[in-house]
Symmetry: C2
Subunit: 655 residues, 2 copies
Amino acid sequence: MTQPDVHEISLHHLKITDPFLGQYQQLVRDVVIPYQWDALNDRLPEAEPSHAITNFRIAAGLEHGEFYGMVFQDSDVAKWLEAVAWSLCQKPDATLEKTADEVIELVAAAQCDDGYLNTYFTVKAPGERWTNLAECHELYCAGHMIEAGVAFWQATGKRRLLGVVCRLADHLCQVFGPGENQLHGYPGHPEIELALMRLYEATQEPRYQVLARYFVEQRGTQPHFYDIEYEKRGRTSYWNTYGPAWMVQDKAYSQAHQPLAEQTRAVGHAVRFVYLMTGVAHLARLSGDEEKRRACLRLWENMARRQLYITGGIGSQSSGEAFSTDYDLPNDTVYAESCASIGLIMFARRMLEMEGDSQYADVMERALYNTVLGGMALDGKHFFYVNPLEVHPKTLKFNHIYDHVKPVRQRWFGCACCPPNIARLLTSLGHYIYTAREDALFINLYIGNNVQLPVGDSTLRLRISGDFPWHEEVRIHIDSPRPVEHTLALRLPDWCDAPRVMLNGRPCEGDIRKGYLWLTRTWHEGDTLTLTLPMPVRRVYGNPLVRHVAGKVAIQRGPLIYCLEEADNGSELHNLQLPATSTFHEREGKGIFARQVLIQAEGWRQASPQPESRPLWQYDRSPAQATPQTLTFIPWFSWANRGEGEMRVWINECR
Amino acid sequence: MTQPDVHEISLHHLKITDPFLGQYQQLVRDVVIPYQWDALNDRLPEAEPSHAITNFRIAAGLEHGEFYGMVFQDSDVAKWLEAVAWSLCQKPDATLEKTADEVIELVAAAQCDDGYLNTYFTVKAPGERWTNLAECHELYCAGHMIEAGVAFWQATGKRRLLGVVCRLADHLCQVFGPGENQLHGYPGHPEIELALMRLYEATQEPRYQVLARYFVEQRGTQPHFYDIEYEKRGRTSYWNTYGPAWMVQDKAYSQAHQPLAEQTRAVGHAVRFVYLMTGVAHLARLSGDEEKRRACLRLWENMARRQLYITGGIGSQSSGEAFSTDYDLPNDTVYAESCASIGLIMFARRMLEMEGDSQYADVMERALYNTVLGGMALDGKHFFYVNPLEVHPKTLKFNHIYDHVKPVRQRWFGCACCPPNIARLLTSLGHYIYTAREDALFINLYIGNNVQLPVGDSTLRLRISGDFPWHEEVRIHIDSPRPVEHTLALRLPDWCDAPRVMLNGRPCEGDIRKGYLWLTRTWHEGDTLTLTLPMPVRRVYGNPLVRHVAGKVAIQRGPLIYCLEEADNGSELHNLQLPATSTFHEREGKGIFARQVLIQAEGWRQASPQPESRPLWQYDRSPAQATPQTLTFIPWFSWANRGEGEMRVWINECR
């Protein structure tokens, strides 16, 4: 397999101008990053303490005290540093950069002489380094710090943190490998694989790719490393959530139940799965490894065609924050962690780089505009970890199958995986808009931006504008002062039946390959592509194997999934019905929905007077009579911004 | 409040002749009781060891060893003894009676000098008696042994076990009460209350009723006894299922969150709730306590009108085997323990005795003919603890919200509460058929039987025959050789719109009071009442507040709820639709359904060819097309007798 070269676009040369997502980026810069910095320093009286910075100070010998927090607490600092790095690309901020530099010095000071870096083990259990890969997130934390190191170098040119993480990675190369005195293990929570691939791409140091491959290929082999290390450490167990050593025993939870080459289904902890596969896809492309590519294709297909929510969520169940099985997609007990959709976007990016196939961008867009945006409140301080498609708040606190579901976004809390992940994704959106291949520039997402990138000896400058995802027209302007011959590959979204492309006002034709319109020519300054992506409101119907949506319909416009909320439609949303033939009307939102498109349709409510005074059931005739009601749909990512109330994506359809 | 006297019918004078339930009684005698005896003695290689008899031998000093099993293991022996007692009423069995006498001697030998009786504490923790009422089932086990003692005396006239349990009850009267040196506590798991009331009724010893009232009235008062004893014993906790001391903290789990007089909703562990209320209703009637009667009416109403499954199941969730909240009645994640429906029948019996209102008999019948019968396989050796209304077996082992759900009945296992409970209920069915009040003989259930009972100075003999629940005609023959003046109150079931009653071939009229037809006359030998209860197949519709059944319909005939199974209807039952207007056809079942009425109707299947090769969703048109299909419904209690397969009670309705 020969793979075309892919060039990572420098975020210095890409500026998001999107009226919609630009707001989110600004929110991350202005609110989320400072808020998270306060959280890391335990300055939020309303939130659980983080202690993450203090852990580093203690590890660095600058302070006395005990480690506090999750075993993976270090990763919050790393993710914050990564978000800061990408944010500095968008907008220089000397104060913020100085703060970050100080944190980096702190991280460097906490690094051990041999390159080891992890405050939990350094402070709390120095003798237990690398004795519990299955459970203890050491390599996970290392991976996040490596990502931060690469990002900070790319963003600022400063090599301080890159040096730290190269020393860390070099230490890993010594500790892990096939040698007699090396550990033959691999992490319970993947992340190091994708991080080593980023570090390899940044430094071109082959041993980082070799180690990434080693971790991937060791995974799930027998005799099982998790069992070996479990016996070796005297059968101690860090997590006992579901009984002693469950994480060691339930190997599918960590995708370690069998070698990747034999795996056929997306299983286990959803975040672990997509993190692992992000690294594997990157490795497959850069090493031209056809077997690994086939594993990526196979497992993506299982996930996307049998275990993916319409909102771009993955992970059908709370137990293990995990996949369930094919076609098991409950709307109310779902987990669909924000982090899992972020990981899904990362996985999709690597698949796009390898395959140039729009199906991956379709999923990326779906996850971004629905679950990821929905994961953060517009104040930048409240977050969903769990993203249900149906909520009945009156029941949540009584039925424990809903213990994980919150009816409104929560403040930062102890296991703060999602908020900083949203921050680093939104600040690095530029990496997902394009795939810059040597043979074409793929435009994956129609987010407004200006970019410049090298094409051969020339520089291609282009500018995307429009009002996506609300308005159908996207314009792509060429701003290169000198003509550039190149191919632009425009994604034709799966939700759009009849896209139209004009060049300088005239119809324009090209080849369609794997869902992209390939347009090859010499581009001149002032050339303008006008892409019209009609966005009629569309009904969506589930596969008949998904029992949770039988007889139901969902509403989508552009990439956005819509829902009903109690605030607009009253309670007991299960009694609302949308006729199969009703007409949709678009309405401009107001207040918190300003600039958003709302949708209305005439439907029915099945109701009976004073149902609370009636028995639980009756014979022969339904107690409910249909009365007409106007149904108002809001974009699902906006739900739960008006207090607690019912919400529902899949609506009963009637004829 | 003055309550009419109620006379408990002696099971010596009542013989079940019912062709349908008679088989179950015979099964209990021939199979279940011997099988359970083997289980109690650890002679079932396929089942978890019980150790229950050995525990008594160790406590009696006849054997050395350790206690093994649940903290409430003794209750299995007690429940077995009770089932044996009722079984001996039906059919003398000298060998079985001798075995039971030996067990009773063993129980007597295990009793301490002061009357205390509990093998767990005697063998394992003698110093910890009465230190953990919230968690440790001491009073629960005592209650079951008291029930066995009363039953064995009533069945055989032998006072040996009655003497043992009176000594035990006397010991309790010393230990518990308002005195300074007495414990002010009450059990975490109610049962002693209903047992003391039975013992009071049997012995007329007032102190047993006084103690029952004490337990009921102490419940939920402040300062809370569970907290006091928790502190006193050094904050140790027996159960840690949901975290340390959860059972102490979650007081609603044990209905101990507030005094009964203040409780307004059925909450917590469903079995505990109905056991408690059985005792409270009995106490309310016998003591004429209007406040307690009002609590019974109030809590019954909440349960029956907001938290009861159509199958007579209660307990919407696995966590805590508990009620959830009003109108939260999921069909697939439901718990609906067999024991809870048995307790519901006991509660209904006591309400019937107090109120003479058929609504209680309607629920009793529903629970008996659906959940309780469904709880046991026709081999008498396999049991459901959990009784779902919808099962999708392919998903069960992957999604942990279904961990408690089994797709087929299981063998006897360690926490063997349900099987012996089913046995004692089915052997004592005679107690539920009639309510023998001084002013009327209420016929609650139309189970074939002969009975004789005193009416004033006379003896009323009557005989019920028919083929309930399959055939609409029930005959009630008077067999008294001498005329008897009395009132027969015939229940008019809620599922029957147009019951007809003939006396000796002529129309017969009476008063209808609270759902019973009161017929007062002098009855002569040979008088025959013919009660026709038309049993058309009826559609059942849920209250609009139950979101799990919106747009769905269930099928009922007589008291039986029907369901679709995969074996008859293919898989993916969620794609089947029953038109609102289709005609039902009754079919005589064959094989395992011999003598049962099956139901067919023309319906539709929403299907698409090769759904597994299609995406998870599609736009604009449903991928499914309707094709006609004959739907076959079986009685729900018969489900899962043909191996694993899908099952569904609530079916999508179409117009």
